[in-house]
């Protein structure tokens, strides 16, 4: 994926999107028809050639990447209007739907923008929770739809407009869940004097709108936090590892150089490291200051290290004392024992 290729693709897709915008207007479509036809041909050819190139490069792994599948779907979508026009003729009622779906072409842009891709991966991890919450909501709506249909859609003085069949009931319930214009619906139910209508509506609004949709927000917040934190942690770890490796490399190189130096010097003079730097030490003056902000040469470190060493010495000293104590006690015990044994053996001898 060279930069030139990316730039070409991004500009193509953007021009395509722009042309689609222009095409919606009937007048411009009328005037610039030829231009649109030609540009449409160009775009379709560019997309199909991109598809063929990518497929040629890597036939098997091509299908594993999600964005490539998206490209394939969009190419199929592009070819739908042609095929529909050919097969079903020019006045097929669903033709405008096929034209409308062309607007999905702009989704190809996502492949070329890294920021949106990371965003989608981060958001996509919340997809499972989103799906489960939606399914729960659907189940709840199903229960209430059937209930509502039986209560308000079947009897004689029914409100057929809103509760006539199951689909209408679903729509009404969705309208209640998004609390948009629900007072009108409630008024219609009130006009027909249904007994349970108010409690039904209120219970459903509480459950769906307040509980479910807020739960949605909460679940998404938690998952977004988790995924963002995970990403950050991975980034920090990576950086840490690279830094450690670099430090290792530098240390190794330094030690190798010193050893090499030692080798050469050894062959000549049989000096050790200290003798080698004797001369250097002579040049050091007491009055020259060296400013360091190293932890190893700072005073807290010296304090901690020395006190730890002191601690170690103290514990070893105490340990030795304890051992001597143990030995002393054991020796005292042993002094008692042989005497008993001697007396016992003496008794045995006497018995014998």
């Amino acid at each position: 994926m060279s930069r030139l290729f990316k730039i070409i693709m991004i500009s193509t897709i953007s021009t395509n999107a722009f042309f689609m915008v222009l095409w919606t207007d009937y007048k411009t479509r009328y005037n610039l028809f030829r231009l649109f036809e030609v540009s449409e041909l160009i775009f379709v050819s560019i997309y199909s050639s991109e598809f063929c190139m990518k497929l040629y490069v890597d036939p098997i792994n091509y299908w594993k990447d999600g964005y490539n599948l998206l490209d394939v779907i969009i190419i199929i979508i592009i070819f739908i209007p042609y095929s529909l026009r050919k097969i079903k003729g020019k006045h097929y009622p669903y033709l405008n739907i096929a034209d409308g779906v062309q607007s999905l072409r702009i989704l190809k842009l996502i492949t070329y923008s890294r920021g949106i891709r990371t965003l989608i991966t981060a958001v996509g991890q919340t997809a499972y929770t989103v799906a489960s919450v939606l399914i729960l909501l659907f189940v709840l709506m199903y229960i209430f739809a059937v209930l509502g249909f039986c209560l308000f859609g079947v009897p004689e003085r029914a409100d057929l407009n809103n509760w006539g069949n199951l689909a209408l009931a679903f729509f009404t319930l969705f309208s209640l869940a998004t609390v948009d214009g629900w007072t009108d619906l409630q008024q219609q139910l009130d006009a027909r004097n249904f007994i349970l209508s108010r409690s039904f509506t209120i219970i459903f609004i509480l459950l769906a709108s307040f509980v479910f949709l807020s739960m949605f927000v909460g679940v998404m917040i938690i998952h977004t936090e988790d995924s963002v934190k995970k990403l950050e942690r991975e980034l920090m770890l990576e950086r840490h590892m690279t830094r450690m490796e670099e430090k290792h490399v530098i240390l190794k190189r330094q030690q190798e150089e010193v050893s090499k130096l030692m080798q050469t010097q050894k062959n000549v003079d049989h000096k050790s490291f200290t003798e080698l730097v004797e001369k250097f030490k002579k040049t050091l003056r007491h009055t020259d200051p060296m400013v360091l902000d190293d932890f190893g040469t700072s005073l807290p470190f010296i304090d901690v290290y020395l006190s730890t060493l002191d601690n170690q010495d103290a514990t070893i000293y105490k340990l030795q004392e304890l051992y001597y104590e143990i030995v002393h006690v054991l020796s005292l015990m042993l002094e008692d024992l042989p005497q008993k044994k001697q007396s016992q053996s003496l008794e045995k001898v006497e018995e014998k």
Binding site: T24, E225, T283, V291, L306, D310, I326, H328
Partner: protein, 545 residues
Amino acid sequence: MATYHSVGHVQLPRADAIRSRLIDTFSLLEHLHGLSQAVPRHTIREILDPSCQKKLMLGDQHQLVRFSIKPRHVERITHAQRLMSTLQVRCSKSPPLSLWAGWVLECPLFRNFIIFLIFLNTIVLMVEIELLESSNTQLWPLKLTLEVAAWFILLVFILEILLMWLSSFFLFWKNAWNVFDFVVTILSLIPEVVVLVGVTSHSVWLQLLRICRVLRSLKLFARFHQVRVIILALVRALKSMTFLLMLLLIFFYIFAVAGVYFFENYTRSTRQDLEYHMFFSDLLNSVVTVFILFTMDHWYALLQDTWKVPEVSRTFSSIYVILWLLLGSIIFRNIIVAMMVTNFQNIRNELNEEMAHLEVQHKADIFKQQIIQRRQNLIPEAQRSSISKMDARDANQQGDSLDLTEASKEESKHSATKESSRASKSKTKKSLSKMKKSASSSSSSSSSSYCSSSSGSRYYDPIGQLDWETHVHQNLPGLMDMDQDERVVWPRDSLFRYFELLEKLQYNLEERKRLQEFAGDAGLIPGRGAKIPHAMGQQPMRCNY
């Protein structure tokens, strides 16, 4: 690697690390390679000494000289300080105007005056609007005073901007708040100028005038620190959400264009009772409709309206609306909320870093106090000349802290862990022996136990319930992160000697450890690798200790 040590020399990674630190600090490699050009061999004092100087000048004249740097507290250098050190200012007879302008702007009196004027502006505007409608001629002087006050305030704001320009023109544009001030002032200036020039008949300009005067109250936002913090947090949160907003725009585009096509029949229909007829007629209207659906306002009414036209397929239109509602207003809005919450948390944490930093420093200070206390407690026990060490420490007292190389960090951690393993063993043995001692009745043991328990209490009191090693471990990161401003000044030869001695210390410690192991093997110290019968067999000999 071990070739440059004598035979039988054990390779200690800690000692190697210390040596490499030594080599690094003194740039010994360049020195030993004979690259005298890289390393300065002489100091300023040598150069200033006449006798030395002559010798040096006769020799190689291209030698490097080391300057002695004394650490100084580096604060923020203000623009005024920088200006004062430029040659122009130092050589001129009178201080430049920009310095005076800067001083005036920083002066608290001036700042409070500006804040007061902003408040006054708001009040004046409020009163003026109320009086606009009434045509009471008695209120004419009041109106005049209000107008004069408004003009005066405008002039003072312009003056303030001129002062800021005088102080430093280029820095003015770098600060976003100043640019905002500038824009607001210009916006409120233009209508006034236009009105003055004579286009008074257009009421539109008068209205614009009022509006722009209101904007001046927004200048208040820049003055108060809390408001600034909140606005900064908001801007940062928005910045991190750019990609989300881009994705949202893409979806807006998709649904707007699709909407135009899907509802073509609805737009072209000739029925008269369609309320939302023009909602999908054009791309612009379609975008507005998509936004209306995004806010979930009257979506069901719109949907039912589209169903009135028979050519519009019900399935596709309902799929469109429901899909957009789910995707846009439910999912997207909640994603935005979630991102804002996480961003605000992050921003708040970052803004609190200052507080956390101070806390960590405080803890590190307490830790240092405990170290010193502990060293003092250990003097009679360890019988060490720590007093001399403390004197040396006072002589070198010039503040302390750090930034750590990974090697020495690992060193100290390793030393701490080694000590912890040894000391934990010793501690368990100590507790067991304490129990034994309570059973036995030898006077010497009781006295020694008393000693150890008293010293133990002295150890553990300052640190609470923790043992030394865990305490060190917990506080080590805090110690390492302490203030970056403090550094240690070492005399050069002392530093060299320090590194040498530290390295030697490692070898000595290793040797002592091995000696103790040998002693344990030889049976001098029972329980240290010795078998018990051995120990028992040699009891009579050891009684003589």
